[in-house]
Symmetry: C2
Subunit: 289 residues, 2 copies
Amino acid sequence: MSRSIWSGLDIKAPKELPIGVFDSGVGGLTIVKEMLNILPKESIIYLGDTARVPYGGKSCETVLRFTKEAVDFFITKGVKLLLIACNTSSSLALPYLGEDYDLAMLGVVDAGAEEAVKVSRVKRIGVIGTKATIASGIYERKIKELDSKIEVFSSSCPLFVPLVEEGWAEDAICYRIAERYLKELKNKKIDTLILGCTHYPLMKKIIQYGIGESVALIDSAKLFVKQVRRLLSNCDKLSAGVNPSYEFYVTDEANQFSQMSRLFLGSNLAQAQRVELKEHKNVSNFNKV
Amino acid sequence: MSRSIWSGLDIKAPKELPIGVFDSGVGGLTIVKEMLNILPKESIIYLGDTARVPYGGKSCETVLRFTKEAVDFFITKGVKLLLIACNTSSSLALPYLGEDYDLAMLGVVDAGAEEAVKVSRVKRIGVIGTKATIASGIYERKIKELDSKIEVFSSSCPLFVPLVEEGWAEDAICYRIAERYLKELKNKKIDTLILGCTHYPLMKKIIQYGIGESVALIDSAKLFVKQVRRLLSNCDKLSAGVNPSYEFYVTDEANQFSQMSRLFLGSNLAQAQRVELKEHKNVSNFNKV
């Protein structure tokens, strides 16, 4: 493969700084979970925009505005690298962020697209995600950049996130909904399916059932974090710290987040803190009243 | 009945001013639909906070903050009366708004509670709503204020809103979900069920099936608007206008809203305009970074 997610990515900040992880809510903790295993020496600052979650049905302009406010937060905090864990932000906002900021940023979308291209034998790849992610067409573009011969088929699955958050990820009703959402994709003879949303790995079993046992599911969290480790190693920016610190920030009430976090992290986390994000300047081009 | 939602409510503003309708998103258009029939001479300013929707899983503090920003918007616009169409805002924010503002405000919760008390013969009332509305306990408090002997049973139905927005309000899967959510309520021998969310009237058929045919469903939109008409009439604040105007504002992209609006309004509406709400002062008591 000729291209890579980190070609040209330059990390200027000191290696001792934490890694930032941004998500629209709690789902990005799947990335944090992998980081605790794969990058155990790294300090982490997590931000979940729980007051405005979900992003998945919102417009490009709004997701970009919210994401810029989050990036400003991480710049204030000081991180060496920012991981955009939210697929919707990675799809709609990250492509427009690069030039405005002097901060290294990576999104989950590249990792998922790269892995799918590696895995697919028949060159037919499926993608599922939120309405906004699918409408952006970003997975298709990324995959075609890597291999223009690959055919990409996509489908949005808006109910999967509320189903997971309701704790019904393995429920019989969820099977019926997965069948419905995946029916068309199943007819496309794909051999690889990208789980293009942080919540979907939690209902892997049902998605596998819906799409068929022979289709490989691409869960980008683990391989994203592995790629991050390789990148940091190549740049000599891996932390040598022995006492990594973990800070969790949310924009809505902190206790709700801590409770929900067990679903994604599989364990309790240190108490989250509530913050209010400052408005990003020069981003609104509509009336303010 | 000794108490009423408008006891003590004083409308000081001129009768020619429009009526404001606030909702977290598109659901409040059910109220607008009734207003077009019941109050055809009134001008309307609608605001849907579509950039931050839904409110139903968010904390009291956050819903209060967002609602205050919306109220500030309506004060800038100039309305004679503000209707809080969103059950979550009515439940979590409205009780704390009165003292801060010199603007007459009414929420849907009062109308639903009053009607249920009138309708119930066995004095056992059920309430369904978002997690936040149900957790607030407001319907129970309002009902008990009106008749302390009534027993109230409640249940949150978080998947109903995304199901309606997915267009699955009359789907077989939706029947299964309604059965599940309403099973416990069904055993409580209620004779009246309050639909405590703007979206629920769109799945009335399924809710009726889930709770049983003998239970009366309270859809507050129509009676809320009837109460508003009576209130305006009593205060001599009904508009005499012959050319009422309608303005629709949203905080996210306007086209998405216009498309979704057909589901609730049953017809096309004038193009919505996008606005950004200003931060309400003196409401944050947590760190700003």
